[in-house]
Amino acid sequence: MSSPDTETLQAKVFPRLYRDSVALMALASSIEKREGVVRAGAVMATPGNLEILGRSAMLPPDLTAAPDDLVLVVRAQDEQTASDALEAATAGLTATEQSGGPREEVAPQTVREGLAAAADATLVTVSTPGPYAPAVVESALRRGLHVFCFSDNVPLADEVRLKRLAVDRRLLLMGPDCGTAILDGVPLGFANVVHPGPVAIVAASGTGAQEVSCLLDDAGTGISQLIGVGGRDLSADVGGLMTELALDLVATDDASEIVVLVSKPPAPEVADRLLARLAGLGKPVVACLLGAEDADGPVVVRGTLEGGAAAAAALAGTPLAIADVAVDEDAAAPLSGGVLGLYTGGTLASETKVVLGRAGVPAEVLDLGDDEYTAGRPHPMIDPSARVDRVARAGADPDVALVLVDLVLGHGASPDPATPLAEAVRGARGAAAADGRELVVAGSVCGTAADPQDIEAQRRILREAGVVLYPSNAAAARYAVVRATGSLPTDPTLLHRQETA
């Protein structure tokens, strides 16, 4: 540890340099966070401020500056640290100076202000509370901008009206309630860090698209475009307005060689029209329609996310290999209660319902990201606390013997979702054990090796808490079937199969 006697003080003066106070605050704060820096200041060199710096032993004796000069001072453990900190701070100031316009002040508050700051923008992301979103979306569309609308709780009538407006202008309106998109490699919302590749995904479900894109990444292929359309797009009311436009766009996108459509079960009248459109797309197509019967016609149809990813991976020449759930004595031990699904991803919850439902396993499966649970609070992929409470409660509920969970990684998701979940699992399993019961917790991690959360670390945290992990959500659901019935599902569409092109 250094003492004031061994510390060093360095300063740099920027003559007649003005930066707004928010930028100066951020600069001083970033310098102070550097290892070895004891204290830093970024102030205007007025006589009053120089006097204060002097009183706090932060004024080098030879410093000369005028009131309109900016002075940076750094006290650090050694000369090199101080010098490096000043150099980094100088680079920060210079970057701002050369940016041709400050980026340190308050972010634009309206579409107009955004365009004033970035006239060449082509897309707006909207994440206002639902009731306010339609006005912002309409403002953006009328200015010729594509829209990524993360907001949920948007009235259905507004969605229909705005999507018609977007289609008229050949603009994407991704959402409302659109969780993810990747456009020309740019991630929006909750997107995973996936490799670029030949597969385009059009998705009416956020976590469904994430699961498919992550499984494809794991298989060794990649994504050209991922266009979210919002969970209601394939309803009878919306009629697939945006799905059709997105399909038009990927059909003409040279980088997209294979097209995957991901959706929760669509309205029957919409599904028929959509399948006809897909059959005429001119590219190999996989329709991943949760709960649908598998079919291998002009359009490859799969009823699970895992099945859709496997079919697309096979078309890309990189088959997806997922180990089957082993049916051993431990796995076949009868459960003392029912199955409870606590999901942050809506489509992952739906996929689990499909697997369990077809296997005849009664279960309560909750999508904690549904509007019903998120009005006025963050999505559980951002704030895991809502699920933590429910996991804890499951430990005290004798009717629950197995809890299925998901853990979704990627941009926008919680930086460490595993730790709070693991702590809750430990508590719940401990409470059940104290009551003489076993609580099994199983699940999967939706993510890639390049995601910011470190997928292997997240998996390790969960395993150490006793969570049984599988490489896909469908595989975890199959494990629940095995535990509940003593055998794997008999329905072949629910089994992972090694697909070939």
Partner: protein, 307 residues
């Protein structure tokens, strides 16, 4: 010196008086921000005149030009931002003299009269006390010691205690974090508080004496602060305040508007809004303690005009 000719915006808002762009032929770029562009007429002269071109969101400031169309403002910022960091440039605003009169709205930036309500001042003071409970996160220098001088400065000004005023101003002018040091914002806030109370809480003669006493001691110290703070202080001494200051002061006529005003002040720069609001609340709180303070009166709506 090479020049960059700036095209005229479609519409502008300016303070009453001479057109700001007409007071000099050539301007230097001081800063190009997302909501404000600062130009200076002159170079090292401590009395150099500044002009702030501001966006609709920032609002009009004294001696400035507000460009209410975001596209117009964005175009100016991009044009000047691209030159920042390169060789020194003159900014030529000759084309602005052709802005038609119908496209120029003039705004009176003087405060008042406002029917300041004591209960609004009390709420304002209580909310600011809460704001001052902890140092602003990440602030390069804690502004609270200079904010704490707002009350003593107000008291000294109202008592015309020149020696004490001088001593306090020496500890405020040019002191604190920010490009307009916090101490300067506090002083502007005190002056705004005095002007808001004039003819409302107390007789105008009371506040006039106090601001004259402050002005006499403040002017010799202006060289001790930054050009931008000097500009704000000079304007405040002339009774001119930015629109966002006016909105804060106007909230003191209605207790229901006070929480939003404090929230808005929190958003001006890193600490400036709260520094200034603290000055205003201190001045008004001192005035309310005077036995001669009056019941709120209804302001004359004709007094303040915009065109």
């Amino acid at each position: 010196m090479p020049s960059v000719h700036l095209a005229a915006p479609q519409r502008v808002r300016v303070p009453t008086g001479p057109r700001p762009w007409a007071v000099a032929r050539a301007w230097c770029i001081v800063h190009v921000g997302q909501s404000a562009i600062i130009l200076s007429a002159g170079s090292d002269d401590a009395a150099a005149r500044l002009m702030a071109l501001t966006s609709r969101r920032r609002g009009l400031v004294a001696g400035g030009v507000c460009v209410p169309d975001d596209d117009d403002f964005g175009a100016l910022a991009r044009r000047l931002g691209a030159t920042t960091g390169s060789a020194a440039l003159d900014v030529n605003l000759d084309a602005w003299s052709a802005i038609p009169a119908a496209a120029i709205a003039t705004v009176d930036l003087q405060i008042g009269p406002i029917a300041v309500r004591p209960e609004a001042v009390e709420l304002f003071t209580a909310l600011l006390r809460a704001e001052n409970g902890a140092a602003p996160a990440g602030a390069a220098m804690d502004p609270r010691p200079v904010r704490a001088l707002a009350g003593p400065l107000s008291r000294a000004a109202l008592a015309r205690d020149d020696r004490r005023i001088a001593r306090l101003l020496s500890r405020l002018v040019g002191v604190g974090p920010g490009a307009t040091p916090a101490g300067d914002d506090v002083i502007v806030g005190v002056l705004a508080g005095l002007d808001a109370a004039a003819g409302s809480l107390v007789d105008e003669a009371v506040t006039r004496v106090a601001r004259d006493a402050l002005g006499a001691r403040l002017r010799p110290l202006l060289a001790r602060t930054t050009a931008i703070a000097r500009h704000d202080l000079t304007a405040a001494l002339a009774g001119q305040y930015a629109e966002h200051v006016q909105r804060t002061v106007a909230a003191l006529a209605d207790p229901a508007a006070v929480p939003a005003a404090v929230a808005a002040a929190r958003g001006w720069g890193a600490t400036s809004g709260i520094d200034l609001a603290t000055g205003t609340s201190s001045a008004l709180a001192r005035l309310l303690r005077r036995p001669d303070h009056q019941a709120p009166s209804t302001p004359d709506p004709e007094h303040r005009r915009s065109a």
